[in-house]
Symmetry: C2
Subunit: 365 residues, 2 copies
């Protein structure tokens, strides 16, 4: 294989790791931090300002040189691919919004467990890498294969369950071989930062972020359903009426108002309300805005192009005439007809809260 | 107007200025540097790795606080907009490829004047800002207006013409008010770096980079054709047969092979040739690759989504079987039927060379 990329691309740029001044840190060990979305300008989130979700205490800082991607299990040829070999395979670049399944948990009633994310556990980047299906195709999946287990190199103590764990997740075969499921080595044109999984991260467009395994070192083709902790105990919906655990997959539609911000005092006159909207199930079809706490709604216009897996900017002019408090809300609807509920649907672990956001502002006298 | 963005967004991030280790510097004063395109991964070029074209010795480092955008001339209401006022106007984000009109000049015969750019005076970013037409609409253009003059704050000695100058350019009225012509304040989600025009840069999607005036401070609506130096003496095509000066506008179609690189030695076997292609006149329709110096051509496949103003990734598998030298070429064709010539079309100032690139590699025994 040819040496196609300069050495500079085989190491993260230290200045592109998460920048604390651009984040709200929720916990230091493991490191969890959310984006300050009011700084978002456009659809691309800079690498330094991108939210970070970590589960386990020992986070790897691997060098490209020694790293290998092992492909094992029910395959015709087990593989151990180097970083250079991976980068020499056919490439794909996709702009994808990642959202943590726990985003918005702080606004759920009933004190669910887990990190209390506000709205900032979401961001959008252009991810470049190799389709997972291309790598699996090289190995040759046996007909028996039902799932692909993706294993990260992160391990160590898990504070929530008080045990040593590794991070691993599985994908159904048909999702794993979808042409847009990506093993990404670059984020916004730069090598993946260490905090975002250098040298390799899985990207499953449209799925909540738990699927985006970082520091990938091993793919295991399996004929059996994977029973790992982060597959069956975490990232499942456990609802009131039933003890059934439904695994999380696609991101529910959501919109956020980024401007104005909660508690802001506005001058009277014309304002542009601005925000973003996304869904993992289908393209966003419309965003509506309410200026009266959800009684009446009007359609917003777009401020960026439609892309299949990325959030889209929206905006709406509003003439603030009457002084006093105003409750602003936005509501996204996707092409499959999914929309946002007024109230979060409770579940034990506090996932997938896509309830309509309320932003309270005051129009000055 | 509301204070919609945090103070962090009103200042460039010092770590996002051009990074010399990611660039080839052509001249220090004024600073001119091209991208190392073999590091390009995906379609977004990081701000630190984006080519820089500067004309004049004195480059401004303005603070957002004191800066104003003045709108003057044949308008109903002259304006002086602050940075905050501008950011509160309706927004637009577009992914746009910028290419310097002199890109590829080093490969033109007949020693044209000007900086000897190789192929790296090109890059792609998501630009976010306010449509120029929105600002002009606030001012109210008189019916007499034919052109909008866009003036940057850069000034000082111009080495090529040995005179003090300012940088200003004009746009025909219909281009100025096109909804995608943008006054950009953000680049890849970050405030514009100083080197890329903080606080405001014009982006004219599809046009060569000379139109993308940096450090914009003044718009002048005029009933007369603008006669500035960078409008009438530079950035014009002066061809052999005639003394006529044709102003440069839209980017001619071009494709580049980014991998493998010039002079590379390749192992025998399957390779993926990879590159990018773009055109300012219409969408790229196809990229073809030749492995025999231009005798036969085959169609490449895509590695990124189509966007109206951005380059698109392409790739092609190639089985290198015979040892020895091979000449690789790629050729882009846009939806308007424009394609690349085999030889650069000579012009006195060495602009708009979109001749087919040749990459010489050797297949090992």
């Amino acid at each position: 294989m040819s040496m196609t990329y300069e050495a500079a691309q085989a190491r993260p740029n230290a200045s592109r790791e998460p920048d604390r001044s651009q984040l709200h840190v929720l916990s230091e060990a493991p490191f969890n931090a959310e984006a300050r979305l009011t700084n978002q300008a456009g659809t691309i989130t800079p690498n330094t300002a991108f939210y970070v979700r970590s589960h386990l205490l020992d986070q790897p800082r691997m060098e490209a040189a020694g790293w290998r991607l092992r492909v094992e299990g029910e395959v015709q040829r087990a593989l151990a691919l180097s970083y250079e070999e991976l980068r020499a395979l056919p490439g794909l670049s996709l702009v994808v919004t990642l959202e943590c399944a726990g985003n918005g948990r702080a606004y759920m009633n009933g004190q669910p467990q887990g990190e209390l994310w506000h709205y900032g556990a979401v961001g959008t980047a252009e991810w470049t890498g190799v389709p997972l299906g291309v790598v699996l195709g090289r190995a040759g999946l046996e007909p028996s294969v039902q799932e692909i287990v993706i294993e990260g190199a992160d391990h160590g103590y898990h504070p929530e369950s008080k045990q040593e764990r590794i991070y691993a997740r599985s994908l159904p075969r048909h999702i794993a071989v979808h042409p847009d499921t990506l093993l990404a080595y670059a984020m916004n044109g730069e090598p993946l930062p260490f905090a975002h999984g250098f040298p390799l991260r899985l990207i499953v467009p449209g799925w909540y972020g738990m699927a985006a395994v970082k520091w990938v070192t091993r793919l295991h083709a399996s004929a059996l359903p994977f029973q790992g902790y982060f597959q069956t105990e975490q990232y499942v919906l456990i609802e009131k009426a039933s003890a059934e655990k439904r695994p999380l997959t696609r991101i529910r539609p959501r919109s956020l108002i980024l401007s104005p911000t909660e508690g802001e005092r506005l001058a009277r006159g014309w304002q542009w309300l601005k925000g973003v909207a996304w869904s993992g199930a289908a393209r966003i079809k419309r965003v509506e805005v309410s200026l009266d706490g959800g009684v009446t709604w009007q359609a917003a216009e777009w401020s960026s192009r439609a892309l299949p897996y990325a959030w889209r900017g929206w905006q709406l002019p509003w003439e603030a005439t009457a002084p006093g408090p105003v409750t602003l809300s936005s509501r996204a609807t996707d092409a499959a007809g999914n929309t946002q509920p007024l109230e979060a649907e409770w579940n034990k672990l506090g996932y997938a809260n896509n309830a309509i956001q309320q932003v309270h502002v005051t129009v000055a006298d």
